[in-house]
């Protein structure tokens, strides 16, 4: 029996901090994701227009287009309802979390995070 070939899962990491993107990339690659990076919502939107990822790990506060504005625009794009969005932000109050969920995010990670938190939230979101 040939080994089952699993489709490649991509995750777009959107964060204005290069360090955060690097840490998230390492964790997500361990979880068998192919990782792409964007440093703000506008860059992320451009990326999505070329190639919709399976998952998006999304920061809130970013220059140009912040996380929630990006999410609103993404959902209006063709195929933009498909990606599973997990917020990952220093904003850690119920209002922000509630707002993210209302706009169609599946899960919410409060920074700081580690690999266990990412893994368990991705399981919650049905990505693993």
């Amino acid at each position: 029996m040939p080994e089952e070939i699993r489709p490649v899962k991509t995750c777009l990491v959107v964060d204005d901090s290069r360090v955060v993107r690097k840490v998230a990339r390492r964790i997500l690659e361990e979880l068998d994701f192919e990782v792409a990076e964007a440093s703000d919502g506008m860059e992320a939107l451009a990326w999505c227009r070329t190639d919709m990822p399976r998952a998006i790990l999304l920061d809130w506060n970013m220059p140009v287009l912040n996380g929630i504005e990006f999410l609103q625009q993404l959902r209006r794009e063709p195929g933009g309802d498909k990606p599973v969005v997990v917020f990952c932000s220093v904003e850690n109050d119920p209002d922000h979390i509630g707002q993210a969920l209302e706009h169609g995010a599946s899960e919410y990670i409060m920074k700081p995070f580690d690999s266990d938190i990412i893994e368990s939230k991705f399981v919650e979101a049905g990505l693993l």
């Binding site: 109050d93 119920p94 979390i97 969920l101 995010a105 899960e107 919410y108 990670i109 938190i117 368990s120």
Partner: protein, 272 residues
């Protein structure tokens, strides 16, 4: 710690709680004892152990036993037991019971398991109108129960296993703490409980969660505790063990394809 001290300590913990201490994991024992020593005003762990062995201070003894025997936990730990509760166990009990359904969470530590069950019951309440749940949580550790009773959790704790949707539905944030909805907190009754001595006379329970507890006991203790649990479980009740725990006991039968789930064996006469 010396070889003799570690073995004396392991013996004490086993006699008091049934828990078998891995004497090779010195670092784990030392980390847990360091906190006890600090709170009790000792400068070193050695001092704490000498005091423990030479004087019979019950309060100090129990704080040491509790610190070593306590286990880690998280909300909705392992997920599947809670899915089984939602999809199989609660619907079955809702159909069979007219009175309250009694659930016991044993080794509940800082409360995440019984509170997860209470949140689940609240979410599912609409599907089973009229069903009333009584959820009891028991643990050996007073310190863990105090924390459970407070209903306060850290950001770290609410990110483990708890979906964001339930976090915003059932928790409020005050300063750095996440505060569990008092309605859920009051749905659970917590009490101190030693599995070696305090099982008889309770119940009957419809569901007993006793996860990742028995595997820290030696085989004879495990068998004895299981048989006592059989004595307080309703004849058509359910026993939920840890997801990787398999326990051979004449009192229980494993449920095929349901990891960790057991039912009473009707042929076994429980010595309740």
């Amino acid at each position: 710690m010396t070889f003799d001290e570690i073995h004396a300590l392991a013996d004490l913990v086993r006699r008091r709680s049934g828990v078998i201490v891995d004497v090779d994991k010195t670092y784990v024992i030392e980390t847990r004892l360091a906190a006890v020593a600090r709170r009790a005003g000792f400068t070193t762990i050695g001092e704490l152990i000498r005091e423990l062995m030479h004087k019979r201070d019950e309060t100090l003894t129990w704080s040491v036993v509790e610190a070593i025997a306590s286990t880690e936990t998280q909300f909705f730990r392992d997920r599947t037991p809670f899915q089984q509760m939602r999809d199989d166990i609660l619907p079955a009990l809702a159909a069979r019971r007219s009175g309250p359904v009694k659930i016991w969470s044993l080794g509940c530590s800082t409360g995440q398991e019984p509170y997860s069950l209470a949140m689940l019951a609240d979410e599912e309440g609409g599907r089973h109108p009229g069903m009333k749940l009584e959820i009891l949580g028991g643990d050996l550790s007073e310190r863990c129960l105090e924390k459970a009773n407070s209903g306060l959790y850290t950001q770290f704790e609410v990110q483990r296993g708890l979906p964001a949707r339930l976090l915003v539905k059932y928790f409020d944030k005050i300063d750095d703490a996440w505060v569990l909805d008092p309605r859920i907190r009051h749905a659970v009754q917590l009490s101190r409980l030693n599995l070696l001595t305090d099982i008889r006379g309770s119940g009957p329970f419809d569901v007993i969660f006793c996860r990742n507890v028995l595997s820290s006991f030696d085989p004879p203790t495990r068998k004895a505790v299981l048989e006592r649990l059989a004595g307080v479980l309703a004849t058509d009740g359910y026993l939920m063990l840890g997801i990787n725990e398999t326990v051979a006991s004449p009192a229980f039968r494993a449920q095929p394809d349901k990891q960790g789930l057991y039912v009473r064996d009707p042929a076994f006469q429980a010595a309740a």
